[in-house]
């Protein structure tokens, strides 16, 4: 059963938007350029297309589940025992995703902004804020993200326009130098992260006030989020070059550092970092919220708030264990997470298929 909390589809779209942008905004250009170099923007468009299709599938499934969350739907289709195992995998996915998001922001802040401050201190502060947000519930989270959107938009446009003087169109040429295989290789990562991860929202669809608007909210959020990522990737390639984008760990931060408008407006990269602070905060809060919701429904608990603190406490060691160093994070962890995401993405499809057959079977049985 779902409580009384309700969110508008517009708020849902904003949550999807900020979740999509989330951590991707700082590392997606780098991931995309790793294989395709200056052709990364093609990979981004390709990934966006496939990603939107997957998101559309999610939204259709969300409508099909009606007032069920994904966990409840899994229980309904797979039965108690198998359902429990699959739901556990899904909850694990949400937990690991939260820890990776945390390690991402933690590493970013501790290597670029507050060098010398221990990682733990940064992560604790971030996690405490997130726990407060999660305990206040999804309605508060949705409303606060609505509040962040104007600031986010403003900063994003400033960033994009301020970088324009640094742009060199020759950086993006030649088009299609890399063959389809390399371009696709870059897209794989982009499809799973962030679009594949949007399946976490199947836990939140029952909260939407008007069910028929699920598709609209899902699609608008993912589309705008994807376009923002595309623009950032394009701008990174244009100003840093394909090779430059591939070697910088955080290309978005690197281009923010290059901002220099007439020698007057410069050194504003920390203000620009506000962009991803907003989006990463929202993404992490949603991840933690979904993890707590999953565990609550998995173990049939009455209250969810008792879970937030333990989850938060697990997150910090887990994040440092999963990405012990910068090299591992950029190679093993990202790659492993990609396969894991693709695996988990099968769950809703299987669940829906089984549920569909089951409902049909029940109907036939009732009729006969």
């Amino acid at each position: 059963m779902i409580g009384k909390e309700k969110i508008e589809y517009r708020q849902f779209a904003i949550l999807v938007l900020l979740f999509t942008i989330g951590t991707s905004i700082i590392i997606a250009p780098n991931m995309l350029a790793a294989y395709a170099q200056q052709d990364a923007w093609i990979s981004a468009l390709l990934g966006l297309g496939v990603g939107l299709f997957i998101v559309w599938c999610y939204s259709v499934m969300g409508r099909y589940y009606k007032e069920l969350t994904l966990i409840e739907a899994i229980h309904a289709s797979f039965g108690n025992y198998l359902g429990f195992v699959i739901a556990l995998i899904f909850s694990g996915f949400a937990l690991i995703l939260s820890s990776l998001v945390l390690s991402n922001i933690g590493t970013f802040v501790s290597t670029r902004l507050l060098v010398g401050t221990p990682l733990d201190a940064i992560e604790y502060i971030f996690v405490i804020t997130v726990v407060i947000a999660v305990r206040l519930g999804i309605e508060t989270l949705a409303r606060s993200s609505e509040f962040m959107i104007p600031m986010f938009t403003f900063l994003f446009f400033i960033l994009t326009f301020a970088v324009l003087p640094q742009i060199d169109w020759d950086n993006i040429k030649p088009f299609f130098e890399h063959d389809m295989k390399q371009i696709m290789q870059s897209s794989y990562g982009f499809i799973s992260f962030p679009f594949g991860e949007l399946l976490l929202f199947l836990m939140l669809t029952p909260y939407i006030a008007k069910q028929k608007n699920i598709t609209r909210g899902y699609m608008i959020g993912a589309l705008i989020g994807g376009l923002v990522l595309f623009v950032i990737t394009l701008v990174s390639i244009l100003s840093l070059g394909g090779h430059g984008t591939a070697i910088h760990t955080y290309p978005a931060f690197a281009i923010a550092k290059k901002i220099d408008m007439g020698g007057v407006i410069q050194r504003i990269e920390v203000i620009m970092a506000g962009i991803w602070m907003f989006s990463i905060f929202t993404k992490l809060s949603l991840c933690v919220y979904v993890t707590a919701l999953c565990l609550k429904q998995l173990f049939r608990l009455r209250d969810m708030n008792c879970l937030t603190l333990p989850i938060a406490l697990i997150l910090i060691p887990l994040s440092q264990w999963l990405s012990p160093n910068a090299t591992d994070f950029q190679t093993l962890t990202q790659r492993g997470m990609m396969y894991f995401t693709y695996g988990v993405m099968l769950i809703p499809f299987l669940t829906t298929g089984l549920l569909f057959l089951k409902r049909k079977w029940m109907k036939n049985k009732n009729q006969s």
Partner: protein
């Protein structure tokens, strides 16, 4: 309830006071590094670090007579440890983000600059807005210890000098670290770097009285453009060739062109808004390049008797300017293609951008292909204005 509100207020006020950075550094504890120089002796780097003494720069009364900057010299196998080693000689922790000049000694440039560049792009403190130059004939620490007139800090002197010469005089160009990194790693564009030389006696130039004379005998000057292949210096371009180079890469913003009008005298035009378009094409597996320069010009100085209201005179001046520019470009092309075989013009990038497939074949032995590649140069100059008067100053001859 009121108690709770009060508690909140107290807590929030306390939070305000608790702010601060974990690794904060007060302004009077840090030494602002404004210039770095690298030389090499044996297998050790000599790092010269120029640190500003803020009280000498800021004071309006002329300060206490100490030098406004100090240049430290430390020796180590790596750059970062040489800079860290400095803490044993200086009372202040060095602070790098305000770096203006990075000066590479000629010896290091000949051996390869890649090893000294890594720390510049890796260290989190450094920004990318400083200039990279090299020395010619002298050592980096000598350049950094010259006393300079007009500008108290030698690094700032070099920085603004390069910035202005790039804008108003053709041969020298600024170079930033990210561009340098890109050019070293790219196979279709090699690097050039402005080279600074010390004129006069270095020993006297290091004395404080060097800046006390009205006519300066010992000074710093940009003299050449160093040509690199990958990360190694292979030679220099003189001023004329360097200008030719900068026309091709479309970097010239404003410059003057001298041309002879009779045996002893010269006319001068000033170029405004020159624009170069380089087009690459591959026909029958043979690459070729077309360089098109278009510029507007004004008459800047006339030494011969001329009537500027005559259209033919203007036409002749235009033709002569075109010929002069073309000559500069050709001399640069000749020297590079015949002698250095290093594609500093970025022709390879152009071929890469227009014919990526063909480029794959050329890439391996590009410097050979480049050296034999035909380059067509066309220059078009239009004179717009002739200044305040329409005739040259009359003489009685």
């Amino acid at each position: 309830m009121r108690k709770r509100k009060l508690l909140m207020v107290v807590l929030l006020t306390m939070a305000l006071m608790l702010t601060g950075c974990w690794s904060r550094r007060e302004l009077n504890e840090i030494g602002l590094v404004i210039g770095l120089g690298v030389d090499k002796v044996g297998d050790e780097y000599i790092v010269s670090t120029q640190v500003v003494d803020p009280s000498e720069i800021a004071s309006s009364k002329g300060g206490s007579g100490r030098a406004p900057v100090v240049t430290y010299k430390t020796t180590d196998k790596t750059l970062i440890s040489a800079v860290r080693k400095l803490t044993s000689v200086t009372p202040r922790k060095l602070y790098l983000p305000h770096l203006r000049m990075f000066i590479i000694g000629e010896t290091v440039a000949r051996e390869g600059v890649a090893p000294v560049l890594d720390v510049l792009s890796r260290d989190h403190e450094l920004r990318t807005d400083f200039y990279v130059i090299m020395t010619k004939g002298s050592k980096a620490h000598e350049v950094l210890s010259m006393v300079t007139p007009l500008e108290k800090v030698p690094s700032t002197y070099l920085y603004t000098m390069l910035k202005h010469t790039e804008k108003y005089w053709s041969p020298f160009s600024t170079l930033k670290i990210d561009q340098l990194d890109n050019e070293i790693s790219s196979s279709g564009k090699e690097t050039v770097m402005s080279a600074v030389a010390t004129k006069g006696s270095i020993k006297e130039g290091q004395q404080k009285k060097n800046a006390e004379n009205i006519s300066i005998k010992n000074y710093l000057q940009y003299t050449d453009l160093g040509v690199f292949r990958q990360d190694k210096l292979i030679g220099f371009l003189n001023e004329t060739e360097a200008s030719g180079y900068r026309y091709v890469v479309n970097e010239i913003k404003d410059t003057v062109i001298e041309m002879p009008c009779n045996k002893t005298h010269k006319d001068v035009t000033e170029l405004i808004h020159p624009k170069t378009i380089v087009k690459g094409k591959v026909v029958n597996h043979k690459p070729s390049i077309h360089v098109q320069v278009k510029a507007e010009a004004n008459v800047a100085e006339l030494q011969c008797q001329t009537n500027l209201l005559d259209r033919n005179v203007i036409k002749t001046l235009e033709k002569k300017t075109q010929k002069e520019i073309k000559g500069q470009i050709t001399s640069a092309l000749q020297k590079i293609q015949k002698e250095y075989h290093s594609d500093i013009f970025g022709f390879g990038e152009k071929i890469h951008q227009t014919n990526p497939r063909e480029w794959k074949k050329f890439e391996k032995n590009w410097s050979d292909v480049f050296s034999k590649m035909p380059v067509q140069v066309s220059v078009k100059v239009e004179i717009r204005n002739f200044g305040k008067v329409n005739q040259s100053t009359p003489n009685l001859k």
